[in-house]
Symmetry: C2
Subunit: 198 residues, 2 copies
């Protein structure tokens, strides 16, 4: 049985990475999607694991050859999602998970029809504010712009297939795992097994 692509979005600070790390650690046949980037490798980062590190020229060539499902430019560096490793994994029956912003997620949905989009929301918007403040590494105006972005992202949640409210990391993790299991049980994924038996 083929794997599926699960894209997880949600406002910064909502706990997406904690949930995804637990799912990848606690479940068989799941792996992260690895992004390509043109930014310089930082100490400790591993090519092909942290990112696929490429030059700007290589990135632009990948883009032109349709090898990227989506991309964006931040602070002069490209970041994008290569299609081929995702195809290889899902063909081999492995689910692929990724943390991606709303704009990127909605772009991918247009190209990968059966991608599953999961939005992680906080129990309240105030929780997002508190978590951003506790990180404490940004000026108030940057904070405001992040909150505005978070608000806009939550407004797009209706475009997603599933919503997880992260009021407990344990429950949120279980819910994402349940979604992944249920998606494999969908009739479209299994009807051929039943038909072959008849």
């Amino acid at each position: 049985m083929k794997g599926k692509l699960f894209i997880v979005s949600g406002p910064s600070g909502v706990g997406k990475n904690t949930i995804l790390n637990r799912v990848v650690a606690g479940r068989e046949n799941v792996q992260y999607s690895i992004s390509a980037t043109s930014r310089a490798k930082r100490p400790g980062e591993i090519d092909g694991k942290s990112y696929f590190f490429v030059t700007r020229e290589q990135f632009e060539a990948m883009l032109q050859q349709g090898e990227l499902l989506e991309y964006a430019e931040y602070v002069g560096n490209y970041y994008g999602t290569p299609l081929k490793p995702i195809e290889q994994a899902t063909q081999a029956g492995i689910d692929v998970v990724m943390d991606l912003d709303v704009v990127g997620a909605l772009k991918i949905r247009k190209r990968v029809e059966n991608a599953v989009l999961v939005f992680v929301a906080a129990p309240s918007f105030d929780v997002i504010r508190q978590r951003l403040i506790h990180r404490g590494d940004v000026a108030p105006d940057v904070m405001e712009s992040r909150l505005e972005r978070a608000r806009w992202e939550c407004e797009q949640a209706g475009e997603y297939d599933y919503i997880i409210i992260n009021d407990s990391v344990e429950r949120a993790t279980q819910e994402l795992m349940a979604i992944m299991t249920a998606e494999k049980c969908k009739t479209m994924e299994r009807i051929h097994i039943v038909k072959e038996e008849l």
Copy 2:
């Protein structure tokens, strides 16, 4: 949050009841739908638990008042699914599960839009045959007609939302539980929570 109605179908002998019993025993806020019937109560059966025992006249009155989601007549007795207890439970946040034949399940889908239909299939059709033989309580021609019915039911699996292949009771039970959890995470069920926060 409201509960949902989960209807489980599948050929006789496939193990639907074992799976449902485990789900009802192992999960919070789930209960069985209780059928109404006009047949006589047997020793050990409890009214309102095994069935709602009613007279033929009472059953026909329920039918005329639209209180039954579906019904059928077997060997001169009526059997049907009362709507009201399901509505009361789901309004109270309780999921309702039932084992129902394909004809009844597809009838209910027309009236309860968000009912979730799960088909339980055997790992192979030969397994169904073996399980029916092991029960050993029927004549060969009855067996053949049951197998024909099982075959027809499997042909309808494409109408269902999910398919579970019962090659392991543990896994099949986990899959049904995952489906129930994932259905509660669907965007339609939760978008109001995210919208209210904004």
